[in-house]
C-alpha cells in the first residue's frame, strides 16, 4: 500500500523498486554511510562489515530457496564451501582472474546445489531437510578424500597475492569494498529474480505445488531452479570468504553455520529480500556484541571468571533469538511492514 497521495502515472514508475523521493534519500544516505565507514570507524567495524556482507549474500540466496520457493535448505553452508573451494582453486592454481574465479565458484556451487533441487521434486518438508543435510556430509567427505593435489585434503587451499583490477586485496578495506559491491549487485539481482516470472513461480510452488502444476508451472524445474539460484548465491559468498581469508578449509563450512544462516533468515522474515538483509545484520551484530562485551566484562569483573562471563553472553544471545521466535515469528520485516502501514493509514485504524 502506498502512502496517501503517492501514485504513478507511468508503467516504469509503477514497477520501480525504489518508489518515492524519501526512499531514494534514505537509500542514498545508507550507501553513503556504508562507503564512508572504513574512513570513519575503527578497524573492527571493517571486518564486521565484510563478514556481514558475505553472510548476507548467502542468506539472500537462502531466502530465494526457502523464503520464496518454500524449499527447506540445510546445506547452504556446504554450497558456500563448494564455491569457496572452486574459487580458491581456480584463482590460485589455474590463474583465473578474480571475477572469473568468483563466477566459477558460484557456478560450481549451483551445479552441486541443483542436485538437491532434483531430490526436492520428490520429497518435501523434514525429508528434504534431511536430504540437504547430506550436502554437508558429502562436501566434507569429498574434500577430505579426493586427492590432496586437487582440493588440498585436510589442509585446504591457500590463495597468495590476490588482486582485482590492479587493487591488492591483502587489506581489510579493499575486502570491505569488494564485498559491498558484490552484495549490492547480488541484492539487485535477487529483487530482479523474485519480481519476475521466476519469482511468481517460486511463490506459487511454495503456496501449493499441486495447484502450481495445474496452472502450467513446471514444478520440478522450478524447484531445481530455486536450489540452483540459492546455491549460486552461496557459491559467490563462499568465493568472497576465500578471498577474505586467503585460505579455505573444510571445517569452515559446517552444519552449524547453515543453521545460523536459517536463523538470520527467520529473524529477518521469510519471503523478503530486505528481511534477509535485516536478519543478517541483527544476528551478526548480536553475535559481535556479545563477543565484544565478554572481554570487557571479564576484565571489569575478574572475580566472576572468564568462563562464567562468556557463557552468560552466549545465553543472552540464545535468549534474544528465542524471544524473537516467540514474539515475532514472522520476522522483523513483518513488524517493519506493519508499522509502515499503520503510519500511512494514520489517523485511521484500517
Amino acid at each position: 500500500m502506498e502512502a496517501s497521495g503517492v501514485f504513478f502515472t507511468t508503467y516504469a514508475g509503477d514497477r520501480s523498486l525504489v518508489r518515492t523521493r524519501p526512499q531514494w534519500i534514505a537509500l542514498s544516505l545508507l550507501m553513503l554511510v556504508l562507503v564512508a565507514l572504513p574512513w570513519l570507524a575503527p578497524e573492527r567495524w571493517i571486518s564486521m562489515g565484510y563478514t556481514i556482507f558475505i553472510t548476507a549474500v548467502a542468506v539472500v540466496g537462502l531466502q530465494i530457496c526457502t523464503g520464496y520457493a518454500g524449499q527447506i535448505n540445510l546445506g547452504q553452508s556446504a554450497f558456500m564451501g563448494v564455491g569457496a573451494y572452486a574459487c580458491a582453486v581456480s584463482v590460485s592454481q589455474w590463474s583465473f582472474p578474480l571475477p572469473a574465479g568468483l563466477l566459477f565458484g558460484g557456478a560450481a556451487a549451483a551445479a552441486f546445489g541443483s542436485l538437491f533441487g532434483i531430490s526436492a521434486a520428490r520429497i518435501k518438508g523434514f525429508y528434504l531437510a534431511l536430504t540437504t543435510i547430506a550436502a554437508q556430509a558429502l562436501f566434507h567427505f569429498f574434500v577430505l578424500n579426493l586427492p590432496s593435489r586437487w582440493l588440498g585434503g585436510p589442509g585446504g587451499v591457500s590463495i597468495e597475492g590476490i588482486a582485482i583490477f590492479g587493487v591488492d586485496l591483502a587489506n581489510d578495506t579493499a575486502i570491505y569494498y569488494l564485498t559491498l559491491v558484490v552484495l549490492v549487485v547480488m541484492t539487485g539481482g535477487a529483487f530482479g529474480i523474485v519480481r519476475a516470472r521466476h519469482g511468481r513461480a517460486f511463490e506459487a510452488v511454495r503456496d501449493d505445488d499441486v495447484a502450481a502444476g495445474m496452472m502450467g508451472i513446471d514444478v520440478t524445474r522450478t524447484k531445481v531452479r530455486a536450489f540452483l539460484v540459492s546455491a549460486f548465491y552461496a557459491g559467490i559468498a563462499g568465493g568472497l570468504w576465500a578471498v577474505a581469508l586467503r585460505h579455505v578449509s573444510v571445517e569452515q563450512f559446517s552444519l552449524f553455520s547453515s543453521i545460523w544462516l536459517i536463523a538470520m533468515m527467520i529473524v529477518g522474515g521469510l519471503g523478503s529480500i530486505v528481511g534477509a538483509l535485516i536478519g543478517t545484520v541483527v544476528i551478526q551484530f548480536a553475535r559481535e556484541a556479545v563477543t565484544t562485551l565478554g572481554p570487557s566484562l571479564s576484565q571489569a569483573f575478574p572475580v566472576v571468571g572468564q568462563d562464567i562471563v562468556f557463557a552468560s553472553m552466549n545465553v543472552l544471545l540464545g535468549t534474544v533469538v528465542i524471544l524473537f521466535l516467540l514474539f515475532e515469528p514472522k520476522g522483523l520485516m513483518h513488524r517493519v511492514t506493519s508499522a509502515k502501514q499503520a503510519f500511512r493509514r494514520w489517523p485511521f485504524p484500517y
Partner: protein
Amino acid sequence: MKSATALRYAAAILTVTLAGAFAARDARAETSYVVPSLSDFSGPFSSVMPALGGARESVIGWWNADVGSKIGVKLVMKAYDTRFDTAQTASLWPGILAEKPLVGFALGGPDTAALQQRLPNDKVVMLLASASNGFGWRPNQWVLSMRPTFVHEQVGFIDWYQKTKLGGKRPVKVALVTSEASPSYADIAKGITAYAKANPSVVELVEVVFAEVQPADLTLQMRRVTNAGADVILAPASLQQAIAVKRALQALGKKVPVAFSMHNAPGFIAKPMGGIETLEGDYEAQSGVIATNEDTEAKRFYDMLVAKHGLKAPWHGITAAGIAQTLLLVRSVEAATRKNGPAKLNGEMIHQTLLDTPITGASLFGYSPDLSYNISAPFPVYNPKVNIGVVKDGKVTTAATGYPIPKLDRW
C-alpha cells in the same frame, strides 16, 4: 640563622625524597604489551577452557610479578571468545590487531585457518598448546605449536612400545581409532598409515577405525580390532571416542592397552569412566608434561601457581598444556627483551627470537623438552621427543620421558 639552617635541611630532605621518588618511578617503569588470548568458552572446547584459560592467567600473573617487573615489561592478557569458529576469529582479528598485540595464544584449527595467511603481514606470532598437523607442516608459519604433530607423538609411542614391550622382536599390531569429521583427525590416519607402510618391521596397522567424533558405541569395531589381535589401540582423537573405546573393551571383556593423547588423557577421562582404576595399563603419549603426582619440577611450579597466583584448575593435561603454552610465550618475550630492550618490542622480534633462540626445557620448568624452531615448520621439527605415561596401581605414572621420535617424512 637557625631558620636558614632549617631551610637548608628541609631543602636537602625534599631533594633526597624527590630523587628517591623519581628513581623508584624509573625502576618501576614498565612497558605494557597486549597479549590476546583466543579462547573457546561457548564452543566444543568450552569444558576445558576454564582450565586452559586459568592456567594462562596465572602464569602471566606470576611472570609479571616475578620476572616482567624486573626487566620492565608487563603483559596484559585479554581473552576473546572465538567459539572455535573460523568466521568469528576472522571477524575479531582486525579489532585485536588494532590494539597492537605483541604475541598471542591460539587454540587450534579454526584460529590457524582464519589467520595463517595474514599473520606474516600482520607480524603477530600466535602460540598453540595443542599438537600440530601434517597439513600445517609448511614453511614460514606464524602460528607455532610447541608440540610436534599428533602423528609424531603416536609414532614415538609405537616405536617405544615395539622396542620396550615387545623387545623389538616383531612388529607391534596397532589399531587406530579416529574420525573423518575433522581434518586434524583425518590427518592422523593419513600419517600413521604412511608410517606403517614405510616401516613394516616396526608396526602392523591392523585397522583404522573411522568413527563419529562423539560415537554412541564402538563395540562392533572393537570386536573386529581385538579379534585381529591388536597389541595396542591408539585413540588420540576426541574425548568421547576415548571413552567409547574403553566402554566397548569393557563390554567385550577384553584387556588391550589404549594409548591416548594429552586432551583425552587417562587423568582427564577417569571421572566419566568411573575411576582411574578402570584405565589400568592404559597410556598417555604426548610431548608435553605427563600430569602425574610425582614430585617433579612441573608439579612444584603448578603447586606454586595454586598457592600464590590463584590457579584453581585441577592438575591434569589441559592445565599443564595451558601452563606450558604460557611459559613458552613469556620466555620468548624475555629472550626478545634481552636482545632488543623492553621499550619497543614487536611481533617480528618475537618471531625472530623464536627462530634464533632455543628455549630450554629447564626454563619451561620441565613442561616441555628443549624447543628450537626453524623456518621450515611450525613446530620443533628437529629431535622431537615424546613423554609416555601409564596408569599403574590406580595412578598415572611416568613410563618414559623424552623418548626420541623416529624421523618422519611429510605424509
